[in-house]
Symmetry: C2
Subunit: 253 residues, 2 copies
């Protein structure tokens, strides 16, 4: 990809009542976000929707039309509440079919004659979909147009993403510099804003935190030019010093 081409974008669609009920703390979004950032793909939005077909269809249509790639997690198992494959078929106006290669992988995993009708549910894909490998438990995900449909179990989802991302077109990688200090945001806001104004190609964020009874703030600069970022980080460092603070260089990850 030429450096003038716009960076590819992505959205994440998390499918699952268990996230919305508060039962389960999602960790997939954060992990996928890290992988996409490292590849130079900009994550533009994430959504969490329940296990309701019309909700999944509406969300995937909206996101698929808007972003280069969409990654979904959850709802591709064999139980009655796994409705993602049907929803994707509806979203793209395709028939839901048994993929012969998926069925073969299930037979290899479970043994000859052991692919019950319930297990065969995991071989259903929208017509024309391409399989996503599942090195953990065989049952594949699938790609339909620009949408990657993956398992919700983190270990399986991660293996799937690690199989997918190297094959995608990336863009310029967004790098990060981060400096923490314990100066109030209301004190550093003005000089920080002046630094931001000097470097319009860098995105400077101010993220307050509060732990163990103390307030602090992480000042994070993000951009694609390492030299410019280093200059911004130096400016922020000097600013913190000038305000009487103790700048602490943070892990940029």
């Amino acid at each position: 990809m030429s450096s003038d081409a716009p960076a590819p974008t992505a959205a994440i669609l998390i499918i699952g009542n268990e996230i919305l009920s508060g039962r389960t703390q999602d960790s997939n979004l954060n992990w996928i976000a890290g992988r996409l950032t490292a590849k130079g793909i900009r994550l533009g939005e994430a959504r969490v929707v329940p296990d309701i077909e019309s909700e999944i269809v509406a969300a995937v249509q909206a996101l698929s039309a808007r972003y280069t790639y969409v990654f979904t997690t959850g709802g591709i198992g064999p139980t009655h509440d796994d409705i993602t494959a049907e929803a994707m078929a509806k979203a793209f106006g395709r028939a839901l079919v048994i993929d012969p290669e998926a069925a073969a992988r299930l037979e290899q995993h479970y043994g000859e004659g052991q692919v019950t009708p319930t297990r065969l549910r995991m071989a259903r894909v929208p017509e024309g979909a391409r399989l996503i490998n599942n090195p953990v438990s065989a049952a594949p995900g699938f790609r339909m147009e620009n949408v990657f449909v993956m398992a919700g179990v983190p270990a399986i989802m991660r293996a799937m993403v690690d199989g997918i991302v190297p094959s995608l077109a990336g863009g310029p990688v967004v790098l990060t510099r981060a400096i923490a200090c314990q100066i109030a945001e209301s004190v550093l806001a003005e000089p920080l804003s002046a630094i931001q104004a000097l470097y319009p190609d860098v995105d400077i964020g101010s993220y307050p935190w509060f732990r163990a009874g103390q307030f602090g703030v992480s000042l994070v600069a993000r951009g694609t030019d390492a030299g410019v970022l280093d200059a911004v980080a130096q400016e922020i460092y000097r600013m913190v010093r000038m305000l009487g603070g103790e700048p602490v260089i943070e892990d940029p990850a």
Copy 2:
């Protein structure tokens, strides 16, 4: 609220580049979800959007029109990247004004004459908004129509939610029963589906997990009638036993 009235619904809108870049693992969604579930408010959707005004405006308009309540987190501090108050004013076609009560609270917190123009940014609200108390660091959130605009720092957000939720109309509380086992989903899917068919008012979910090299699944029944839920839990327990498994009753939370 009468038991025949539909349960109130909610959406969560998380505003912040740091979540989408993978730098920060969000924990606000899960915490708010738990509070809403306990109050009988159904969380129907969650979205994460970047610090881009048009994105915030579009998301809050879509969610506000569709759900009883919307809870937003992030972007109400004093720095240049805190643009949530302006975005809310635009979303609702209101002027952005300095709220006198908010300004007074800031003065009480920072001291007389210490409310700099930067600090006064934290008193800006859409015209007609009502303040949300911030017992941690004074700078208030605000309610605009059915949207509660809150801080992103978890300690502050939690204090705000704990001030808001008791005053909201709740609905019938959704209760949970959960049983874990190590039977493959592909084996239990059919009998589980039969139990689901017997109890259409209960929502039965099957959530596989994989840890320390072992697969397992949590079978979770959710509904508003404790007696019916107990019956469903017993059926699931018996089903696991009949399939040769070892049912483990899990913390329902």
